[in-house]
């Protein structure tokens, strides 16, 4: 298994083991970028449990996730293994109520604060 396969296998494992999975810069407690912080804030407001990976810890992951999703920026949110979007799309969906609906239709527990 070459390096790229190794990275995409890691990505798949993360996505498969978390209904809601956020690839971000930093951590939910210490986000290192405004866009990542914004998505964490939204997920916390909706009150959904989510897994996260700090892509700053590995250049391979930081580039690998962009290749995996064919999306050029971080953060990236996945719900039930499907790529949902980055900060702009998640913000738009949150403001229109679509994000809550997406979690409900996917049977994901939410606890809006």
């Amino acid at each position: 298994m070459n390096n790229n396969d190794h990275v995409s296998q890691n990505i798949e494992n993360e996505i498969n083991s978390n209904d809601v999975m956020l690839f971000m810069k930093g951590t939910p407690v210490f986000p290192m970028c405004g866009f990542s912080a914004r998505v964490v804030e939204i997920l916390n407001k909706v009150g959904v449990k989510f897994g996260s990976v700090n892509v700053l810890e590995s250049d391979e992951m930081r580039e690998g996730i962009k290749i995996y999703s064919n999306w050029p920026t971080i953060p990236q949110l996945y719900v039930k293994k499907e790529f949902i979007g980055g900060c702009d799309i998640i913000t738009e969906m949150f403001e229109s109520g679509e994000l809550l609906e997406l979690f409900n239709t996917n049977g994901i527990d939410v606890n809006p604060s």
Partner: protein
Amino acid sequence: MPMTVKQIEQFIKEAIPDATVEIEDLKGDGDHYSATVTSKSFTGKTRVEQHKMVYDAFNGKMGSDLHALKLKTVSE
């Protein structure tokens, strides 16, 4: 190397000829912009697909030369 408003508009229009593009420079550093792109070619596409069309217009420069582009896509 940061980008100018003109360059951003040019990239998008070359890839999406019928697009109308409104760009706002958020920080004046050539690296943080917001853009609203309107085009018929977005019709029937998901938001992710629409945004990918715009990102692809930058031929790999999105996320490198251009750090942040707050994007809103509108299909007529």
